[in-house]
Symmetry: C2
Subunit: 711 residues, 2 copies
């Protein structure tokens, strides 16, 4: 597959060629760095744009509603305010939902499950197109401004990935424009590398956590740890957070005061963590996932028409506004207005002058701000009852919201629920321990609670710890946060999903619902005595070195065997005995060959015909035409095709006695898609694909699968 | 090699066995976590111990010298003070150097090159023994307390690695004690995983940078990115920094005030980085490496007797004291003593009352404190001339010191030189730009200068950025630090070493000097048209499935072919034609088999003989007896040995046309040591080992090697 192997088949090259090649490799590497820088820059810009747009829109909305409420508080027609609020919310959400439902359904949700699959090596159509990006950005602005219980952080990861895919390919199908640059990178592995850089840049911009971004990409995507690649990913992340920081500082009128590295900033915590505790919040997180699982199944079954989806989204928006309003209305938790006035929209409502309604702080605000106030407001800001009711209401809303046909993330709602719950716990603890000063700061409980809730929902341990540590800017919190996340994961994994058979994190739930052949990190422990022979697909469709065009077309057209890779064998196998392996050729390569009619007969008859070049393969990437679109006449069907110079001459093979864990390791470590299984005469006996492996990877259900395999 | 494959050869196992196995795997995983926690805890404790010991000893020393100086400043016999200082320094250094030179020479230096090699898969004898640890800790306390231009951070990494190797094996050869626990982990791969966790814990304790530690381990060691392993490494790092933090807070009398996560803390920087610049400091870093390279060669040639080594170390200590004293003596840079009194040992000398000698701040202090004051002292604290002279003197001392027969790290001296130089630059810039406030804080230049100097010397980009970002506690500095490090690396790599043929970083210099077969990340770019056939060692010594004991003994005893892995072939090869591959057996396995005399004849004659078990292999690990120690009688030489059930039945193989980059990738991604090369009949034609690959990996010398390969 490597172009060099194509070009330099002939040996005895002069030293100048070698020198030239060296230069070429250096240029290539520099280009990769430049692309990564661009990816980071553009991702940072997009994050900045989203942030400013949301802030402006939400600002106008809250101002209008606030003035309206203030007007009607005395007059006594608050239902009008409620209606205004609900209508404003629904209008925003409708816009976003319409765009998503009718123009690009793949832009719904946070996009993280899709990116996880993409990085895992599973192709999902349309996920990294420019159109998806535009809809996503528009959708997320609408849904956050519309007051839904969602965050704008998850979509940033998807946005970064799309930017990366677009920039690195140097062309856009949506715009029908080919810039004729970066053509070397038009292949799966390179594209995937850039997409992981983009995802990292997205995380970095969302949370101001460049290292967390790198670890996220590695945790989800990379299998082979390549140092240079990691540096590039890190570079993209750094550029991204720096760009965001820089432009936001200009927007806030303080250029150079780089104080907002991410879309959400937790503010700084000091180092005193003597008051750290561990909450077993995995249970609540798991509950979230289970309810959401059933809800999503319900949605897949009944709400599959775009109109219905838009209406559901609007309904949720209106209900959110109503619930918020009711909570604020019925709460009588008044707090004195501080002179520093940290609240941007303090609602007085029925409170005395100089006081404000504290429930309104939580609801009448973008979720990011609410999280910050839960973390940092001084003790005594919140009434425990207020917090309790808020947690429950927000939990219900968040569960309902995730999975709607809008672009939205689940990070911030999780953090908010956890922070509220954690702060509540902290307040209760301080009641019990009365006047002990070490229990003094409920903001820290809020932080730990937020970590636990988020961990229970998404079940990432490593990258999440780093993201949270970077967001708090204090490494001392790392250890408690890590313990909490691990506890949440273990509790969630073993006590809840272990029984209900719903996979771990929320993203895995959604991946499972889309039934994607997702490969996990390790082979299941019970697979040690399964061998390649039992896992492989067999019999395999093989081609000869020189194969009849008719047979190739037939095989490719046969929908029941839609394989993507075909072993090439050396001698014809008349008597059903498998032939000796001599290469592997991909469906896409065959299609390009057929399209250009690279037949043996033609080559000899018309010498002038231009040789097929690497460029032809690249230009067709990544949307190879389907076999049906290629017309092959009856005459041509009788021609022969010589696959020798196009196939991969040294595909990875394993003997059929190889154990499943070893096969698994090869797949993961080398990023394989096909592995040829041979007997000890090097004859092809089977082919292991991702699907074969994914079938055997079921974690706790290993027993059952084993049983199936043995019968 | 996997025990399961040994145990469960027979199929049709009941479900209970599967359940049991599942439990066993979970137990194993829990044990791994417990071990990692222990590693982190012990590493943190050791770091704490070193810190306290150094602080106490250095404190006594400086106090004594200070009193002496104060006494003689007026009397006028300062040469006595100088002698006192030099003697004290030399005494400390002598103790440390004696221990290292006579008891455990491998404990010299920072140990980072050795750990790099270990993680790369190269075995270096005695590097992870308990004795090495004890000497290392003692040595580093002595050399830092002895005032050498060294740091205690590098040795922490080595210490962490030794702790890990010891704890994970559950026994100690130095103590001759076997705790009979963790026997499952007595194998190369598991041990290496734990050692990487230990190294990470060491970095984490040294710099308070747990994420940096993880990345260091990954950058240097891991090739296959395993998620669970990374979590464990992260866990060990977290525990380590937390332990250190906790115990130091108790030591400082403020339990719970967790403010010292690492041995060195940069203190907190605020976010205003508008005054960031890039210094091309790679040149100076490279200069350091080149001088040190020649010096080390000189040392290897001439100073190889322990006595000489100790004397050199003492000489350096005395010279350091003299130079420092002279600098302080001839400097007349007096600064007013602030009321906050940040200096611990302010020396008045010839300054007016209420002032102190600012040169003394830099020299009369542990290097960690000096770095901190360079970063954080307010503008105007230092005179530019003082700084310039200090930089030059300290540079010379540091170059001379690294490579002495003492335990010592190079991080802190590099940081100190860079910080001084950077601050100097900052001050000069503020002279030029006169009263502009944005150039105001030279402390930031100090930080950037420190990063550049360190980057130029050690040439790590990724993990160093993260370590420095974590140490400063501000993610905003990440981008400038990364740019500086990259610049330093590029400048250093291309403009200096590109011509002088000395490899990149200081550690690589020392690795090269020890001529270790170190594998880099990628195959050299010019290797694309080399194939496995040209790289492999050939002919290969193969064994038959059932082989004569005499032949095995002869092959193992033959020192000219000291291979470690032998392919096992199916049919005897009388006519020199290679046999078909059916397995791979290791030297160590053969030795254990010979030791236990597992001969075919014996098995049939004495049925009562106990079967050889996995345990026998584990107990012998890692110090397998040499072949000479195994006595095989003439009769026994005629016996046969059946290798079938002990060999690895499915070794990784490649066809001989495989390109070198692909071979390289397999080696790195799967952590191989041997790769069997076969022809298309599956006959063994060669064997690729690490040495074969290392020979072809020479970066910029690719041309020459290629030439060699073609002739």
């Amino acid at each position: 597959m490597c172009s060099l192997q194509f070009v330099l088949k002939s040996r005895g090259i002069s030293q100048y060629v070698v020198l030239l090649l060296n230069c070429w490799f250096i240029c290539l590497e520099i280009t990769r760095w430049v692309i990564c820088g661009l990816i980071g820059f553009l991702t940072g810009l997009i994050a900045c744009m989203i942030d400013i747009a949301v802030e402006k829109l939400a600002g106008y909305k809250y101002l209008a509603v606030k003035q309206n409420i203030e007007k009607y508080t005395e007059l006594g027609g608050l239902s009008i305010s409620l209606i205004l609020w609900a209508v404003l919310n629904s209008a925003f959400v409708m816009l976003g939902s319409l765009a998503v439902a009718f123009l690009e359904p793949i832009a719904a949700g946070s996009g993280i499950p899709q990116i996880k699959c993409f990085l895992n090596g599973v192709k999902i159509p349309r996920v990294v197109r420019l159109k998806t990006l535009v809809i996503k950005v528009f959708g997320v602005i609408c849904s956050v401004a519309g007051g839904l219980a969602v965050g704008k952080e998850g979509p940033m990861i998807h946005s970064g990935a799309v930017v990366a895919a677009g920039v690195s390919q140097g062309r856009s199908t949506s715009l029908k424009k080919d810039f004729k640059i970066f053509e070397y990178f038009r292949r799966d592995t390179e594209k995937r590398d850039f997409v992981s850089a983009g995802a990292a840049a997205g995380v970095s911009a969302a949370f101001g956590a460049p290292v967390g971004g790198v670890l996220f990409s590695l945790e989800e995507g990379a299998s082979f740890w390549n140092q240079l690649l990691t540096w590039r990913i890190f570079f993209a992340s750094m550029v991204s957070t720096f760009t965001l920081n820089f432009f936001l500082s200009i927007y806030h009128g303080k250029p150079g005061q780089l104080s907002s590295p991410g879309l959400i900033n937790f503010g700084r915590f000091d180092s005193d963590v003597s008051s750290v505790f561990i909450v077993f919040r995995g249970v609540l997180g798991a509950l979230f996932n289970i309810i959401n699982y059933w809800l999503t199944i319900f949605r897949i079954r009944y709400i599959h028409r775009p109109c219905l989806q838009v209406m559901e989204a609007m309904l949720v928006a209106a209900v959110t506004a109503t619930v918020s309003f009711a909570m604020i209305y019925f709460s009588n938790d008044c707090q004195p207005l501080g002179q520093d006035n940290t609240e941007e929209y303090p609602l007085q409502l029925f409170c005395a002058d100089g006081e404000y309604n504290s429930m309104a702080t939580a609801f009448f605000n973008t979720p990011e701000r609410s999280v910050r106030s839960l973390f940092h407001n001084p003790p005594g800001t919140y009434n425990p009852v207020t917090l309790g009711v808020f947690t429950l209401a927000y939990f219900a809303l968040a569960v309902w919201t995730y999975g709607l046909t809008v672009s939205a993330g689940v990070f911030i709602p999780s953090l908010l629920i956890g922070a509220a719950w954690g702060r509540l716990f902290g307040i209760l603890l301080s009641f019990i321990a009365s006047s002990q000063s070490i229990w003094a700061d409920p903001g820290k409980y809020a932080l730990i609670g937020a970590a636990a809730q988020l961990g229970g929902i998404v079940r990432m341990t490593l990258s999440l710890t780093v993201i949270l540590v970077e967001a708090t800017g204090n490494v001392t919190y790392g250890f408690p946060i890590m313990l909490v996340l691990m506890t949440a994961k273990i509790v969630g994994d073993y006590f809840i999903e272990g029984r209900s058979r719903i996979p771990g994190g929320l993203y895995d739930v959604h991946i499972k619902l889309q039934s994607v052949p997702f490969l996990h990190w390790d082979a299941p422990p019970t697979s040690h005595w399964l061998t390649a022979r039992e896992v492989m697909s067999s019999p395999v469709t093989c081609f000869n070195r020189v194969e009849k065009v008719g047979r190739i077309v037939d095989v490719l057209s046969n929908t029941s065997t839609n394989h993507n890779g075909f072993p090439v064998v050396s001698d014809t196998t008349e008597n059903d005995e498998p032939g000796k392996i001599c290469g592997l050729i991909l469906r896409s390569q065959l299609i390009v060959l057929l399209k250009h009619k690279v037949f043996v007969e033609r080559a000899s008859s018309r010498l002038s015909q231009r040789r097929l070049q690497l460029k032809d393969f690249r230009d067709a990437y990544p949307r190879f035409p389907p076999i049906q679109s290629i017309h092959v006449s009856q005459d041509e069907r009788e021609c022969m095709m010589d696959l020798t110079e196009f196939m991969n001459p040294t595909p990875y093979t394993v003997p059929q006695e190889t154990s499943l864990p070893r096969v698994f390791k090869l797949f993961r470590a080398l990023g394989l898609r096909h592995l040829v299984v041979v007997d000890n005469e090097n004859r092809v006996v089977g082919l292991v694909t991702r699907k074969d492996l994914a079938r055997y990877h079921v974690g706790k259900d290993g027993l059952e699968e084993l049983h199936l395999a043995q019968t």
